[in-house]
Structures are given as C-alpha cells and as structure tokens.
C-alpha cells in the first residue's frame, strides 16, 4: 500500500525542512519526499491543501491508566485520543495499578499497545518500588523490557538519598529520571495555587516554593551525580529560573511544561470548576509569563500534555475531594498554536518541542519526517477554527478546562505506522 500526501506544507524540525513537498508512504515507512506534484503514483492520495504535514507528535508525559484504572482510560482509548490530537507516540507514566515497577507490567503495556493501541506506546518505569520512594525498582530489568525512562510521577522521590541513587544508577542506561517536583509537606492539603485567588475562594493553596524547593534539590543532585534529570510539568517562575541557571552551569537537565501552564492562571478557579484542578496547580500571571519565556529561550525544552484522564465521578464532587488532572491529548497542539499566534514560538519551534525534542530526550526514533523514518505523520489544518467539545473526546476523560473554547488547528488526519486515522 502506497500513500501519497500532496499539496501540503511539509515541516520537519530535525532536518529543518519547510516546504511544499509530496510525501510518499509505503507500508509503515516513509519512502521519500518529492517536490510538490512530483510524487510517484500511489494507491491513495491524500490532499493536504491548506494543511501542514508534520511528524506525528510525541507526548513524553501521558497517563494511560491501564492496568488498574480502566474506568478512567485504557491503552485503546488513550491512544485513540492521542492520534485524534495528532500524536503518534506517547510515553506512559507508571502510576497504574499495579505500578509499572516490574517487567511483567511493562510487558503487559507493550503487548496490549501492540494489540489494541493506535500509536506507539513507550512505558516509563517506576523509580522506586510501588512509587513508595523507599527502594529503587529493578531499573535494569525495566530498561531491558522496554521502559525508556524512570519516574515516580504523581509523587516526588522525597528521600534525597534515594533520588541521588536513582540519578547515579540510571546512568548505566543513559536514561532520564523524570522528577515530579513537589515538597509534600509544603503542599499538604493544597488544592490550588497559593495566592490572592486562593485567599478569596477559601481553598487551601500550594505555594510556588513547594515546586521550587524540589527543583532546586534535584538540580543539585543532578550536578552532584552527573545523572540525566528531566523536570516534569514546570509551572513556576522560580523553577524556570533555577533550570535556566543550572543549564548555564552545564547540569544535564531537560524540562517540559504543559499547555495549561502557559494558557491558564489561577483566576480560573473562582468558579470552583474542578476541571481546573491539576497538580501542580495553574499559577499566577507572572508564572505563566515565565513559563512562556522559558519556552522561548529554550530553558523549557519540550511541551508535554500530562494527559490525566479521570472519570466524571472523580471530578463531579467537592473541590477539595476532586481528582487532580486534565485530559490533554486532544487540545494540546491547538493550545500550542496560540503561542505561535502570540509570537512566543515560531511554528517550527512549536513542532520541534512536540516532536523531535521529546524524542531526543527519551532517545527514541519518533518525531521525524524523512525518508526511511516510520510513517508517523500528522496533517493539520492550522487555521481552521473549532469549538472544543469534551463530550466528543475519544479519551474516556472529559476533564478539560478548555471545554467550549474556540481554538485553531484541526487535526485532519493522523498517520500512525502507515495507518490513516481520520474523523468526520
């Protein structure tokens, strides 16, 4: 089966390609790129007029919930949501039940994804057994089975010695240790950002310092050990500055943020809408500005979704009791495009932060659109407007704060390993 994508603007950040080209897919691979109209005969021709044709997006921070929380999301539904959002690769966090801290769970995820998934799924293994922060999981066995990074995401590794050992030991595999930075004592009981808004809505706040302290600690430990540290979901001005300084000092650190941290402020919480409840919390205006600056100057390498789907019963409760998290796969790219519209990133930079950079951090082959690469491609109509409708999400998690927002950038088609996904 040969598929030719024609009439589109092809952009590939790794090769800095940006031009009107035809892309030929054969089977699961990209066979070649040709000048527009110069592509060979194919079994199917996809007309990408008015669209960008880019590498399938890579999400380095996804919660697929399976095994254990299939009522929130499954590998099947989560990857369907992924391709709907233009993603063809997701890296799934280990806070499942059981936790992905053994080869058996890793193997289960990989096999289930091959059988039922719509896109590439790379598991992230736990740093510590049971995410308890007490002793290291068997990192070699996890790595051998297919884990590509380690994280206790959802929880920090509270014990500094264990975190030191994780950063040291993971050097054997040259894999990143992904840190969820939160001082649990400072954040205890908190459900939103601490500041003026938390004062007027009467909800317990989580201060920026809860994040900054752990970012500072982990940067110091990365410096001490030479291990590869990746900071997840950066939300504060302080974290951005700490990471920037550490990078200047030569610390091996990378960082990601998520669309909600460059889009929303804690002002949104005045409605007590639990779809805005996320950890770390959406912060103040200064933090949003700092995160945007960090994206612009490269301090923040990547944009990830932290896709955290929840069942409506976990959200339609008292704010204090509602689950943390946002279902993000299906809105991420459109929210990223807002940064392009505002001149914070150029389009190629945005695509780079959502494709080849996360791939490089994870040391996987995804996120590339060139001859011989996997046929993972997103065809996106950049300027087409649409209204977000959470009830139409393919994710089981309808927990989005962006419901009914008007956004630009419709994913017309996603091609995942040569298979074309398209929607009405």
């Amino acid at each position: 089966m040969k598929i030719l994508i024609t009439n589109g603007r092809v952009m590939d950040p790794r090769s800095n390609t940006d031009g009107r080209l035809d892309v030929l897919i054969e089977g699961t691979k990209i066979r070649g790129l040709y000048p527009e109209g110069g592509g060979p005969e194919a079994d199917r021709v996809i007309d990408a007029s008015g669209c960008i044709v880019i590498p399938g997006l890579v999400d380095m921070h996804t919660h697929l919930r399976e095994p254990g929380f299939e009522y929130k999301e499954t590998i099947k539904s989560g990857t369907m949501a992924a391709v709907k959002g233009g993603f063809t690769t997701v890296c799934c966090m280990p806070n499942t039940n059981p936790v992905n801290d053994t080869m058996a769970v890793t193997r289960f995820i990989i096999e289930k994804a091959l059988k039922e998934g719509c896109c590439a799924v790379y598991p992230i293994g736990a740093i510590t057994k049971g995410l308890k922060g007490e002793e290291l999981a068997e990192l070699e066995m996890l790595a051998r089975t297919g884990c590509i990074a380690f994280s206790d995401d959802g929880r920090p590794v509270t014990d500094s010695l264990i975190m030191r050992r994780a950063l040291e030991y993971s050097k054997i595999f040259n894999m990143p240790v992904i840190s969820h930075c939160e001082d649990l004592k400072l954040s205890e009981g908190g459900v939103m950002n601490e500041g003026f808004v938390s004062t007027i809505v009467g909800l317990k706040g989580i201060p920026n310092a809860a994040e900054d302290i752990m970012v500072a600690r982990d940067l110091l430990l990365a410096d001490l050990t030479g291990g590869r540290l990746h900071i997840a979901h950066v939300s504060t001005e302080g974290a951005v500055e700490l990471i920037r300084n550490a990078k200047h000092r030569g610390v091996k650190v990378t960082a990601e943020t998520c669309p909600h941290y460059f889009t929303l402020t804690d002002e949104s919480l005045v409605s007590y809408d639990t779809n805005f409840k996320v950890n770390p919390p959406v912060r103040g205006v200064k933090d949003v500005e700092a995160v945007r600056r960090g994206l612009k100057d490269g301090t923040i390498d990547a944009i990830a979704t932290d896709h955290a789907p929840h069942h409506v019963d976990d959200k339609n409760v008292e704010f204090d009791r509602a689950a943390f998290g946002i279902s993000g796969l299906e809105t991420a790219f459109s929210l990223g495009l807002r940064l392009v519209a505002e001149g914070i990133l150029d389009l190629m930079q945005l695509i780079r932060k959502m494709t080849v950079i996360p791939s490089e951090i994870m040391k996987i082959n995804s996120g590339v659109l060139s001859e011989g690469a996997d046929a993972d491609i997103a065809v996106i109509n950049m300027h087409k407007k649409y209204r977000v409708d959470s009830s139409a999400f393919l994710s089981k998690g309808r927990n989005t704060p962006f419901d009914r927002w008007t956004l630009e950038g419709v994913v017309e088609k996603t091609i995942s390993r040569g298979k074309v996904y398209e929607w009405d």
């Binding site: 009467g202 008292e318 204090d320």
Partner: protein, 306 residues
C-alpha cells in the same frame, strides 16, 4: 432588588443589597419583640437545612428564622464520615431537588459546595459556611449589630483578631465592612495570615498592642483548638499571651468600642471571661440579630423570580 436567587457570599453582593438586607432585618427584629413572633410570608415553602459540619447555633438560628416565617423546615445533619462512605454531593443535590425544597441552607467543610448546589434550578441556596470561603449571614448579622451601636460604617475601624487563614467569618466580614466603607485591620500571628490578603484593603498587624489602638469594633474569631500542634503557634497559652483579648488590651480601643464573637467562644483561649461577659460585649445581641437577619435573607430570596 436582589439579582441572585442564592446567597453564596458577601463577595457577590452590592452595598445596596447589603443595606436592603439590613433594613429588612430591622423590620423583622421588631416582629421578634412582639408577643406572637410568627408571620406568614413563607407559608407553604420548605427550607432544607443541610449541615455537613456540626453546628448547633447556625442551624438552630436558620431553623427558627424559617419557622418564624411559617416555612416548613427539614434538617439533614450529615456527618462528613457518612459522605465519605457513599453519597456524593451530586446525589445530595438530586435528593434535595426531588424533595421539592424551596431553600437549601448548606454548611460544608469544603469551599465551593454552595456554588455547586446553586446550579440546581428553582431552589435558593443559602451559604451557611463553606470551608474557609464565606459565612455571609454571620457577616450580615455582624453588620446589623455594628449598625445598631454605631449607626454607620464609613470611617469606623474594625479589628478582626485570630485565625484569619482558616476563617470564613473573617473573609465575609472583610468583604462586608470594606464594601460599606469601614477600615479593617486583621490581627493575627504571621502563620495565620492568608496569602496576599492586603489586596483586599486590610491592614495587617501581628500585635494586639498596635492593632487594637483606637478601634471602634473588635471582632474576635474562634480558634479551632485542633490547630494547635500544627505549627501555627507553639501552645494555646502562648497564643493567649499574644492574641487573647484581655481587659487590659481592651483599654487600647476607643472607650465605646464593642466586642464581638461569632461563637462558640473558647474562654481563656482567645477571649478572657471578664471581657466576654463585660459591658462592652455584644455577643448575645449578635445571636438575637442573627435570627432577624436570617429571616430577612429568606424573605428577600423568596421574592426573587427563579
């Protein structure tokens, strides 16, 4: 006059609405002085008291207010533990709707719960205290009491003393007093100052000696005894040493200053017994005024088209 079918907080009210409630309450206070204290405006209406936190005073006050207006009253006392076992807030909301109540008076330990319930159509939600957010009828009865002693708000200085961080009463009082032009001070240990509260236009003091000087109104807050051992202050004794209202400290205020407390009091923790029972205390008056204010709120909300 009233724009909303609900009373969720003082934040949402205009100063005109506040004055309208106070004026209406004055009428009901007269009713309460009569021999026959019952009037008919809410005949045939049902008020559901839904208390997810223990409360005797506020619940009783609402119950009596509703009964004085001839409404039928049902009381649900739901200990938080049974909620954790099963019934969700959504189910509670559906139950209230199915019961056909016209008013729900809600107290809950979680901020925002009244807002959640206010999405139910055809029912007026009255916030009787939600987490650390608001307790609007307390602030209204405080205003009513201040007005009856001082006659005005503009130019007055009120000091709110105690655990402001965890206090919905403090927040509602701050909104209420600042909307009506009073100066508001808060006096509390720096461990109990809410983030950026200065933006509400209050002055912040960590010392009674400085904060009480020349004030017209002293509003003491109840100190939740379970706060000790959480690092906010080393001991109740030390708390009283620094922030307890004593007769000596009361002298710093104006000679005609009044002393208020939302109750129930911890004597010897936040307030000395001789002050609580002394001539400047208006604490029992607050309780009586609470009844009139809650009657006014029920009455006015009943008149809002739903």
């Amino acid at each position: 006059m009233f724009r909303s079918k609900d009373l969720l907080g003082i934040k949402e009210l205009t100063s005109e609405e506040i004055y309208h409630i106070l004026d209406t309450a004055a009428g009901f206070k007269d009713v309460l002085r009569r021999d026959i204290k019952k009037v008919p405006p809410l005949r045939g209406k049902t008020v559901a008291n839904l208390f997810f936190e223990p409360s005797t005073r506020t619940r009783t006050s609402f119950e009596l207010a509703a009964k004085r207006l001839s409404a039928d009253v049902v009381n649900f006392s739901v200990p938080a533990s049974s909620v954790i076992k099963g019934e969700t807030l959504k189910d509670t909301a559906l139950t209230i709707q199915a019961l056909g109540a016209d008013f729900v008076v809600i107290r809950h330990s979680s901020a925002g719960v009244p807002h959640f319930l206010s999405r139910i159509e055809n029912i007026s939600v009255i916030n009787a205290g939600d987490g650390a957010n608001e307790h609007p009828t307390q602030a209204l009865l405080d205003l009513f009491t201040i007005q009856s002693h001082k006659g005005k708000f503009r130019g007055l200085t009120a000091a709110i003393v105690g655990d402001v961080t965890h206090s919905r009463v403090a927040r509602s009082d701050i909104y209420a007093l600042t909307k009506l032009g009073a100066n508001v001070r808060i006096i509390c240990p720096p461990t109990l100052v809410p983030a950026e509260i200065g933006k509400l236009g209050v002055e912040i003091f960590d010392s009674m000696e400085k904060g009480l000087r020349k004030v017209d109104v002293i509003m003491m807050l109840r100190l939740q005894l379970e706060r000790q051992g959480k690092g906010f202050f080393p001991s109740l004794e030390e708390y009283f040493n620094l922030y307890g209202l004593t007769a000596e400290r009361l002298k710093l205020a104006k000679d005609d200053a009044i002393v208020m407390h939302p109750g129930p009091m911890n004597r010897g923790v936040e307030i000395a017994t001789d002050v609580a029972d002394g001539p400047r205390s208006v604490i029992l008056e607050q309780v009586t005024n609470g009844l009139a204010v809650r009657m006014a709120v029920l009455y006015l909300l009943a008149g809002v088209k739903k």
